[in-house]
Each structure stands twice: as C-alpha cells, then as structure tokens.
Amino acid sequence: MRFNTLFILILIFTAGTRTSAQTWVVPDEQKAVVAPFKFTPDMQKQGEQIYLKNCQACHGLMGKDNWARLTPPPGDLSREKAQIQRDGEIFYRITTGKTPMPEFRNILSEEDRWWVVAYLRTFNPKYVQPNPVAKAAFTGRIVTLAMQYNDQMKKIVVTASEQLKDGQKGPAAGVEVVLFVKRYFGKMQVGDIRTTNAAGLALFEFPADLPGNKDGNVALTAMVNDPKGIMKTTPADAAFGIGVPTEKPGLTETRAWWSHRGQAPVWILLTYTLSVVIVWGFILYIVYSILQIRKLSKG
C-alpha cells in the first residue's frame, strides 16, 4: 500500500516535470498583439465554421470537454486554461502550432485565424475585446516570377519583376529563386538557389538525365526563397519538353503481386485455381462415392 502511494507520487512528479519541460512559451511581444478589427457576430459565425472544420477533430465541441485523447491533451478551449490567455497568445498558438497540433500559418489566412479567436471568445462572458490596432500597410517587396526555356542557351530563365514605389513594374534584383520539378510525390529541387541579377534574371541548368512523361515534358515551379516571410511573392509554373521521354506503366497497370485482383500474376491465378479445382474435385468424387455405398447394399 505504502509502496503504491510512493509509486504514484513518483509518477505524478515525473509526469509533472515532463510536461513542464515541454511548455509552450509565447514571446511577450506576440502576447501583446491584438486583432486589427472589432469582432462582429458575423465574424464569430465564420469563426465557428472554421473551428468545426479545422479544430474540432482534436479539441472537441466547445464546452463539452470531449477532446481527442492525445498527448499532450488538447483540452477544451472554452475553459479557463485557454480563456485566461490574451488574444495575441491564442492567435500565436494557432499560427505556430506545436506537435501534434499543426501550424495554421499556411492553412488559414490571418483574417481566418482572428475569426476563430472571435468565435472562441463567445464562450467567455467576461471577455472584453481590447481596442483593435489596424495593421500598418505592407511596405516590403512584392515580387512576381515568370519562367521560360531558352533553347539556344539550354537554360531555364526565371524572370523576377517587382512593384516599384511609383506604381510601375521593374526587374527585381537580388531575389533568391528556387526551382522545383514535380515528381510522383511532392517536388524535387533542381540545382542550387540562384540570386537574380540586375535585370531580374536567374538562370538554371536542367540536368540531361531527368525523366519526363512520355513526351519528355516536365512540370516545373519557380519560387522565391523568403524564409522570414518579409515579401509578397507569386511563384511561376511551367512545363517544358526537356526531360527524357519515359513511358512507365502505373504501378497497378501491369500484373504484379501488389496489384489489384484483376492484375494478379498469371502463375498465381493458375496455381491457386488449379489447386482448388483439383482438391475439391477429389472431395466431390469422394462425396459421390460415399453416396454409392448406399446403393451397393444387399437387402
């Protein structure tokens, strides 16, 4: 008995230290962030839809404490533990996520995320929204990419243009560009990152041995490398006939072990069917001859 209590205490202690070691800290300046607009009932409604689609699978229905059994537990967001946090804190958590919670930075727009906060707050009668602070207008670079294949140079030419202060468009110099080629699953980077020159151009060599589709076409995507997210960028997509023409049947288009029933290897079909037919043929024969015993009786 005493041992058990001790054991449980140790467990609680270690469990406690374990979670505290992984606490989810929100930087102070992020906590202070407030929504750029006043929450309206309409936004709360939109937020509810977003919540049901993106959050409810883990956090459950608000106020029902029926969250998914994950570690760490997601918890019910209508409860005090979530509601005592400031708007900026909640917003930050939705934006960044923490395993197993996904980051919603690229899934929900900033507006969407604020709408969810607006919805969450409807479960807190004591909540008073702090005064909104409108976001300063965007002052960073707005870059658009385009892509061509130059036959003479045998190179892919990516052109970066940007919006200038005076509203005109001009070449964007010094922009880092990454080139990807699409494959079965996801994308593969081609070559290194290139920086655009004064004319806004970045040149890429395309390897001679990469397979394309049966016409030799490969699908490419050029993107701006902007890990800090300080620009607004538009990637470029294009397809060129510069790959090695390859005709490979799909994985289930030929007979194989792994394929579906209609594509079973012939030898398996034959072996299986023959074995079944032969053995069950004998079984039927035996049943038939058993029935003969009755007929052979005298008297």
Binding site: R69, L70, T71, T99, P100, W257, W258, S259, H260, R261, A264, P265, I268, L269, Y272, T273, V276, V279, W280, F282, I283, Y285, I286, V287, S289, I290, L291, Q292, I293, R294, L296, S297, K298, G299
Partner: protein, 442 residues
C-alpha cells in the same frame, strides 16, 4: 493388453466401445456447464458487436492481439489429424488404430472453430463473405481461408468414413442405445452391410483423403505462418516460419491428443484399448516433434541474434531480458526443454506423468503464439509518437479474454458431442485387427 486376447469376442468389444453412448447425468452437468460458460462469453461478444473492437485492448499499433494468437493456436492444434492419420498412418503404424479417431475429432473441432476465431477479430463480421468476394489471389489471407475450409472438409470426411461401418454395427447390435438415436445411426450408416464393394469404396476414399490431407495440412499452417513471415517485421521476417509453425503445431496437437486420450480412457473406461503402451508411444511422438521444434527455435533466435540487426536486437532484447522475458523463458523452458528432458525417461511416459507434461506443453503452446504475435508490434520500424499510453503497450481486456475463451468452450462442446455419440475408438477396425472376423449383418 491386460486382457487375454482370446477371450475378446465381438460382443465384448462392441459393448466396451459403445457403452458410453447414452445420456447420463454427468454428461448433462458437463454440457450444462459448457453451455452456460459459452453464454457468458457470447454476452461479451455481443458487447463487442455493439460497441466495436475498441472494447478489446488492440489499438492502432498492436492491431493483432490475443484473437490472432488464439487463431494461430487453433490452426496449430488442428494439424494433429494429419500427423497421426496421414503421416504415421500411411507408414503403417498399427498401434495407432485406437488413437486415429481421437486425433481426427480434435482436428475437426479445432479446424471448425479456427474459422470462427478469426471472425472475433473482425469489426464487421457480417462482411466475412467479402474475404472471398473481393479476395485477391495474391494475398495469403485468401489462401488461408481457402486451405482452412478445405482442411476442415477433408478432416470431417476422414472422421466420417471409418465410422460408417461402426454405425451399421451400432444401430443393429447395441441394445442400450436411446431409441431416438437409432434412426440417426441408420441414416448415417448408409445401409452398410460389409459388402466387399462397399469396403472397397471406403478404403479407396480413405486413401485419397490421407494423401490429400498431407499437402492440405502443410499448407494451412505454412500459409498461416506466411501471414506473418511476408511482413518485414523483426521476429516475423523469417524464411523458416513455415516449418517452424508446422513443427510447433505437431507439438501442440500431440499434447492435445494425449490429454484427450487420458480423459476418454478414464471416463469411458477404455483401459483395455488405450493402454500404457499407447501413452508411451504418444510420449515418444511428442518428444520427437518437440525436438524438431526445439531445432527450429534455435534457428529462429540464434541466426538473427548473431547478426543483431537493429530491429531484431530490440525484439530479442525484449524477449530475452525485457518486458516479455518471464513469459518467454517460462514457455521455452517449461513448455519445451523440460518436457523433452522428462520424456526421455520411460517413467514419465506413463499416463499420469505424460498427461501433466502435455498440459504444460499445451498451455505453453498458447503463450508461445502470444509471444510470436504481439511483442514485435510494440516496436514498429517507424517510431510511435504522441499517442495515448494504451496504444503503445498492449494488454488484453476482460471482454477480449472472455471472447478468446469462447472458442475453447466450443471445441470442448464439439469434442464432447462427437465422443459421446460415437465410439471414441474405431469399432469395426479394432474387431478386424483382432481377427474377430466379419460381422454378420442380417
């Protein structure tokens, strides 16, 4: 034989081997007990049907739990029919005659129930037919259901054919027979009157069956082993899994036969037919198959243990010195090594000692299946992350345990019914072997 063979008459043999065919109090109590236990287990199953497989301890990682271990065990135990009747029978071992039907009964009972065991692991059992309708001939699962069905039918026929003559004798000669049973035996006897033409049909059919039984039985357990071995998991990814499973099956089955022999001999007073010699011989059979099984065990652990690939190392560590070590060593030592050592001595092949050894072997055989199926799933190649604790460590629930007990009760019911209403020892064959000549059918 303790009895003077000359004194054996046909009537004496008939009465010795059929006097138990009547409904007595002991039988009713035993069947009542079995039925009640079965009902309790079926209630547990009804909960699973209603609530879903979540009532069992299986989760996303350990998806094959006790049900699958049970399934492998049942398939294994059913294999004994093939060893006794087909392999040893075709070689022509005469001492087997009184044991063949016991072995076939066990084979039929376990094979019939093995199919049901797998249903206990299905979330939507009403879709069982889909296994056939949508089965892929590339999948060992389809082969498995095919061979198990086939083996069951073969075993049933092999149980029935030698019984035809017995039933002809019983419905004519046994006066003590309950009156309502007599017409049943008459129908089942197929008007057998010991005509040479009839005997010829029966013996030819039996020969065909015995020959078919060998590949069928080898396939059912080899294919069952492939359900595991075609997966690249530590502990399953093995090329000797087929013979490993088959030899293990013979161990479990021989033990089951010895246990059944003991109880039939005592309850149905068959001491003159199931003699110490039979127990001695079966003890030797069990020792032999256990040695073969030991050999495969050594292969299974020594070869991966020598190379110690990462996943194998984790698996073997858990078995040898980790969480499963106690069970593992109890099974290997108590269910394999010690029994082999004991069985080397004639003294331990007497009925009572060999019964105790067989019970230990059979229990160990069940836990061995558990150790083959479950531990490796707790260590998949991809790490397990961010899941509740009960996803990581499997422990069977009470409901799951009750559902796993049900097949055992079913097997006991089937064996009890077959042995109660038919001679446990082939009547006609025994009489013929004793040279008592032909039965006169009037």
């Amino acid at each position: 034989m303790t009895m003077d063979d000359n004194k054996l008459t046909f009537d004496k043999i008939t009465s010795d081997l059929t006097h138990h065919i009547r409904i007595n109090k002991g039988f009713l109590i035993w069947m009542g007990f079995l039925t009640l236990s079965l009902l309790i287990c079926l209630y547990a199953y009804s909960i699973q049907l209603k609530t879903g497989l979540g009532v069992a301890g299986i989760r996303d990682y350990i998806t094959w739990g006790m049900y699958l271990a049970n399934f492998v065990f049942f398939v294994a135990a059913s294999l004994i029919g093939m060893l006794i009747s087909a392999v040893l029978g075709l070689i022509g071992m005469k001492w087997l005659t009184p044991i063949t039907r016991i072995a076939e009964t066990i084979a039929v009972a376990f094979a019939a129930v093995a199919g049901l065991v797998i249903v206990s692991d299905m979330g939507r059992p009403e879709r069982l037919a889909y296994v056939f309708i949508y089965g892929r001939p590339q999948s060992p699962i389809l082969w498995d259901v095919t061979v198990i069905t086939t083996y069951f039918v073969l075993s049933l026929l092999l149980l029935f054919l030698p019984m035809i003559a017995d039933m002809a004798i019983i419905h004519r000669k046994v006066e003590t027979l309950p009156s309502w049973l007599r017409p049943v035996y008459k129908v089942l006897s197929l008007n057998f009157t010991d005509q040479p033409a009839q005997n010829k049909i029966i013996s030819r059919a039996i020969r065909i069956l015995l020959i078919l039984l060998i590949p069928a039985a080898l396939s059912i357990h080899t294919v069952t082993s492939w359900l595991f071995a075609v997966t690249s998991r530590a502990g399953w990814d093995s090329t000797v899994f087929g013979p490993y499973f088959v030899s293990g099956a013979f161990v479990a089955g021989s033990a089951a036969v010895i246990i059944a022999m003991f109880f039939f001999r005592k309850n149905y007073k068959l001491q003159d037919y199931l003699t110490d010699m039979h127990f001695d011989k079966m003890g030797k059979v069990l020792a032999t198959v256990s040695l073969v099984y030991l050999y495969f065990n050594i292969n299974e652990f020594l070869v991966p243990g020598y190379k110690l690939k990462r996943a194998d190392a984790i698996h073997l560590q858990e078995l040898f010195a980790g969480k499963d070590a106690l069970l593992f060593w109890a099974v290997q030592v108590g269910g394999l090594i010690l029994p082999i050592l004991f069985m080397l001595f004639r003294r331990f092949r007497k009925p009572l000692p060999i019964l105790i050894i067989s019970i230990a072997v059979l229990i160990a055989a069940w836990f061995k299946r558990y150790l083959i199926v479950i531990p490796t799933q707790e260590h998949p190649f991809l790490p397990i992350q961010h899941v509740p604790g009960n996803f990581i460590h499997y422990s069977p629930t009470l409901i799951e345990t009750l559902i796993s007990v049900a097949p055992f009760i079913l097997v006991l019911i089937i064996i009890t019914l077959i042995s109660k209403f038919f001679p446990v020892i082939p009547l006609h064959e025994t009489a013929q072997e004793k040279g008592i000549g032909h039965i006169k059918f009037d």
